[in-house]
Amino acid sequence: MSVVAAVETVALRKRYPKVEALRGVSLRIEPGEIFALLGPNGAGKTTWISVVCGLVRPTDGSAAVMGHDVVREAMAARRLVGLVPQEVVFDPFFTPREALRFQMGYFGVRPDGARIDEVLAAVGLSDKADTNARELSGGMKRRLLIAKALVHRPKVVFLDEPTAGVDVELRRDLWAYVRRVRAEGATIVLTTHYLEEAEQLADRVAVIDRGALIALDRPATLLARHGEKRIRVELGSPLEALPPPLAARGATVDASRRVLECPFPAHGVSDLLCDLAALQGVVDLRTEQPSLEQVFLALTGGEKR
């Protein structure tokens, strides 16, 4: 018997009067995965999450959470999810502690002070627990959103750009917490502005562009397939002309003509070093590993965001 998917969408479409935001997206996310959804602005990532969380009605196709159709069995599906929305939203009437009590209650869970304290500590808001939400900084408000999405122990957590505007140290703390939430049995689906975040966290990555799925695999597989290790050489003075052997390898120089980049060959590294020996005044040399950002740009053919 096959395992029920944590999230499954089949040929999911969402058409607005002027744009088709989703063009038949089929995705299956396994229980316990950390799954990253990448794509340029307006690619359809937030629409996909919104359909799965019941905020937007699909035009066609289906979406299910743990086997519960999000339209026909909406209540059963919603009980299982937690959502960090992309926009920073907060209720200025209440404190973080009150907001978390309400959030637990909405999901049918009896408010539990110990659980609330635990989640507040995890997102670094213990000392602001009883401060009115309007007095929190932007980063704190975003952390409160994360706490709200997790406090009722959802089976599937959707994080729509959860760490935008959050400082580096806290971002790493939150990653650690996300891994812990996964270790406790939850499935994590995230979109992120930081491709490093996807690379560090995600078991699998899907790339969406113009409402369609264009890549889906493990980060390592995507890097191997679409990424390219390169060698970067910095020169003391501008290069007058690119030596023909390096040009034949696909090497390029930047506008200052002091930095040369060349694809790193899978075999025959010694030959490449011989070709590079023709360069005068080398001041630095290093290899660059392929990044998910490089893969992303190769797949979408444009800007990251």
């Binding site: 969402k14 607005y16 629409t47 919104s50 969380c53 019941g54 905020l55 937007v56 009605r57 909406a74 209540m75 059963a76 919603r78 009980r79 999810v81 959502l83 929305p85 926009e87 939203v89 907060f90 209720d91 200025p92 009437f93 209440f94 009150e98 009590r101 309400f102 959030q103 637990m104 209650g105 909405y106 999901f107 049918g108 869970v109 009896r110 408010p111 709200k148």
Partner: protein
């Protein structure tokens, strides 16, 4: 079924207005009490009686109804509209709350505010006119049903509105004129026939008359008519709010 979710939303909506009591309770109580003092005593000396009721007692049910209608409406309208504008409505739309649970929690909390303000206005008036209530069950029934009607109407208006200006159209251009022209300060029988006919076309008149029958024991129209009209409008308002929440109109994309 999500009884914890229902109770949580009800508690949250109630605490929301209790957190700012000066604005949600104090201000309307002061305003309505001033109407009572100014109209009841300034005009009361000249008018003496209307429909056989001392004028100062005549206006009390109308002023209570004014408070109930405005506050029940404003509670749901402002709460849901602000949630829409701020985006916190997402908390409710993602949660496993059924249409009935959401509607029930919003309406009950707004009824609480409307009836609380109405009760305080009645207490202020009772200090001058006495605490006796002729038909307590009729008074209670009209207070609760009218509060529920306008609480549900507040939801409808909040969901349909995209801007604060639109939200204010109904209370400013519909509710306040209809309430003031709904027999709060005068009896339809004292008006010329044409104006009396216009006044009798106003449904709020029958709600005010119903509460007047409950508190004072006499009114210009039978309470049964008022009850039927109130239930009819309650069904319309609740039906509209139900449809909007169920269909996701202006809430779910």
């Amino acid at each position: 079924m999500n009884p914890i979710g229902f109770r949580t939303l009800l508690a949250k909506e109630t605490r929301r207005f209790l957190k700012v009591p000066g604005q949600t309770i104090g201000q309307p109580v002061i305003t309505t009490s001033l109407y009572f003092l100014v109209f009841g005593f300034a005009l009361g000396g000249r008018l003496r009686e209307l429909d056989g009721i001392p004028y100062v007692r005549f206006i009390v049910p109308g002023l209570i109804m004014l408070a109930v209608i405005q506050n029940a409406f404003l509670n749901t309208a402002s709460s849901l509209f602000v949630m829409k504008i701020q985006g916190t409505i997402v908390d409710l739309l993602v949660a496993p709350l059924s249409v009935g649970e959401m509607l029930g929690a919003f309406v009950l909390a707004a009824m609480g505010r409307g009836c609380l303000v109405g009760a305080v206005v009645w207490l202020v008036a009772a200090a001058f006119t006495g605490v006796e209530v002729a038909h307590p069950l009729w008074a209670l029934a009209f207070s609760l049903l009218v509060a529920a009607t306008f609480a549900a109407l507040g939801l409808v208006v909040a969901i349909a509105s995209d801007k604060f200006e639109q939200l204010n159209i109904v209370p400013t251009f519909v509710l306040t004129p209809l309430t003031f022209l709904g027999g709060v300060f005068y009896s339809a029988r004292t008006l010329p026939p044409a104006w009396a006919a216009v006044t009798r076309a106003n449904p709020i008149l029958y709600m005010v008359e119903g509460l007047r029958y409950g508190i004072v024991g006499a009114a210009g129209s039978p309470p049964e008519i008022g009850l039927a009209i109130t239930i009819g409008f309650l069904a319309l308002a609740v039906g509209g709010a139900w449809w909007m929440l169920k269909s996701g109109y202006k809430l779910r994309g």
